[in-house]
Amino acid sequence: MLLTIGMLGILSLIFGLLLGYTSVRFKVEGNPIIEQINSHLPQMQCGKCSYIGCHPYAEAIANNEVAINQCLPGGESTMLALARFLDREPIPLEAPEEVVPTKLLAIIDETACIGCTKCIQACPVDAILGAPKWMHTVIAQECTGCELCVIVCPVDCIKMAPVPATLSRWKWPHPSQI
């Protein structure tokens, strides 16, 4: 029992002295600001800031290479702490934009339509009905929402409107959105 405690104690003491001596002998004079910036970061080493870890990101901030709002795990509190510490303006976080594709439907403002037939020629699925000099309209069941007709309209009377889900149209969400 005593031998065990003594052996582990002495071994730890030797190692501790060794490490203590090493840390003094091999002391690295670094930029103290980098260490202080690093202490504000969450140390998750996640790489979301596009640097390989928190310390490289801290170095980049210290060298003014990158904005202070790149740390997603740290969130707003880290950004505010960095802004206060570095005396910089707080910037909102850069959250990745979620693009959710929704089904759109072209709608022709029939009072403004001049009957030029340009949208009829542009439509790849023949979903627009009309004749020269006569008002056009969209066949809602055929429209795929491709938006090709929007740019060709000379009087800008085509709008894209989202289609609300109905019982017949509702689908299971795409796996990537779960």
């Binding site: 582990l8 071994l11 490490l19 090493t22 091999f26 690295v28």
Partner: protein, 193 residues
């Protein structure tokens, strides 16, 4: 000489620590996303693993066995490994900033790599002598390095491949690891140890 070669081939291919003994899977999965980081991690592991295998052998042979304190092996080895890692980090930081740039982030990760402790304990279990311990540690590290680099290269390809949506991310990574493990099982008949 032949038995050293057998140990080397055994640890690198037939009894690869990652794919056959399933040790050190966390760095295997987490550090293998990019080829360069895999190289850095492999290099750092090789250095630390060889050193800690030798040091833990010496601790066991000249401290624990004479004092009949073999039951303290795990604890002492963990102490030795932690000190080796910390010591290496400090010395490298001072002496070679370029090497520290490349390895710095991985050195603390190695302290928790279970291959390091696994090699130290297996050295005792298989009653290796000094030279065998060193080669066993070195071979284990080279095997880890080889597998990590191969896996990182595969993952860089998989990242560009058209993977079915439900398999994207972690699932395809684990499937790839499983297939690689099966491929390494093919080395099992290479030598009889």
């Amino acid at each position: 000489m032949t038995e050293y070669l057998f140990i080397l081939i055994g640890t690198i291919l037939t009894n690869n620590f990652v794919l056959v003994k399933f040790l050190g899977l966390c760095p295997f999965i987490s550090v293998s996303t990019r080829f360069e980081t895999a190289m850095g991690m492999g290099l750092a592991t090789t250095f630390v693993l060889t050193l800690s295998a030798v040091l833990s052998y010496l601790t066991d042979e000249y401290l624990l066995v004479p004092l009949q304190l073999e039951f303290l092996r795990t604890m002492t080895f963990i102490l030795v490994i932690a000190v080796v890692v910390q010591f290496t980090e400090m010395v490298v930081h001072k002496t070679s900033p370029i090497l520290y740039q490349a390895l710095g982030i991985f050195l603390p990760l190695i302290a928790t790599n279970c291959i390091v402790l696994g090699v130290a304990l297996l050295n005792v279990q298989e009653q290796h002598n000094f030279m065998e311990s060193a080669i066993y540690g070195f071979g284990a590290a080279v095997g880890f390095w080889l597998v990590l680099v191969l896996f990182a290269a595969v993952r860089e390809r998989v990242a560009l491949a058209d993977v079915p949506l439900v398999f994207k991310g972690a699932p395809i990574t684990l499937i790839t690891a499983g297939i690689m493990s099966m491929a390494f099982m093919g080395f099992a008949g290479l030598i009889k140890v």
